[in-house]
Symmetry: none
Subunit: 138 residues, 2 copies
């Protein structure tokens, strides 16, 4: 399982590209899909992301799909409606779609924070606010 640790601030260029930090890419290097799965963070205005390995695990745990026996319930996880599959280019960059950037208020710079099985992508300002708030509430 890919593990992400550390904080890195990278630039978002005018094509919307950002380099995924090399240590994160190294964690993902064994996977067949070279890229990340991104989605709006569950709390706070960041983007969260993981590798295909974690996603495949979630899909495997998805309710057994058997159309032939049961036609009623699909308690499909609502997270699926927000997922984005972002491939690395030859230089380890991804393109952050503009809507995701807007939601996360990312413009110019993006801060990657590893949080174990996932990592987050923040606007540096928002991350600072979030951290200040965290510290105050402690």
């Amino acid at each position: 399982m890919a593990v992400f640790i550390g904080t890195f601030e990278n630039k978002v260029d005018r094509k919307g590209r950002v380099s995924v930090p090399a240590p994160f890419r190294a964690s993902l290097s064994g996977l067949t899909f070279q890229g990340i799965i991104a989605f709006p963070a569950r709390n706070g205005g960041a983007i969260e992301a993981c590798g295909m390995d974690l996603m495949e695990q979630m899909i495997a745990e998805q309710d057994q799909i058997n159309l032939l026996s049961n036609h009623t319930g699909t308690p499909t996880a609502s997270i699926f409606y927000e997922l984005l599959q972002l491939s690395f280019d030859g230089d380890g960059r991804i393109i952050l779609p503009s809507d995701l950037r807007e939601r996360a208020a990312i413009d110019g710079q993006a801060t990657f924070v590893g949080i174990g099985k996932l990592f987050q992508i923040w606007s540096p300002e928002r991350l600072a606010e979030f951290r200040a708030q965290q510290a105050g509430g402690r």
Copy 2:
């Protein structure tokens, strides 16, 4: 197993053609049948679809006994009556039959949503309603 992730909105032209998103086609590229199996979604007014690989798996897991015993109390395989095999044209498009389009209220635009082993095809408006309802009911 083909996996579908991400949301894509494409246009339905006046011939009823829609491009299946390239990432979805890539997931299906290894299969002998180049196209999708579509059927009315089990919940809500969308279309659901998958690749032939999942369909074959579901058929393999079908309860043998049901086939051999009587036809009376088995609503199991009723989905078979609704399955549609839709081939890609040379440019990766499918034709959505008009009755399926009507049932899903798709007209002009179609939103593809990957939900792991399957994907859904929505009228953008209906999807928005569905999502709002999901969010509100939480």
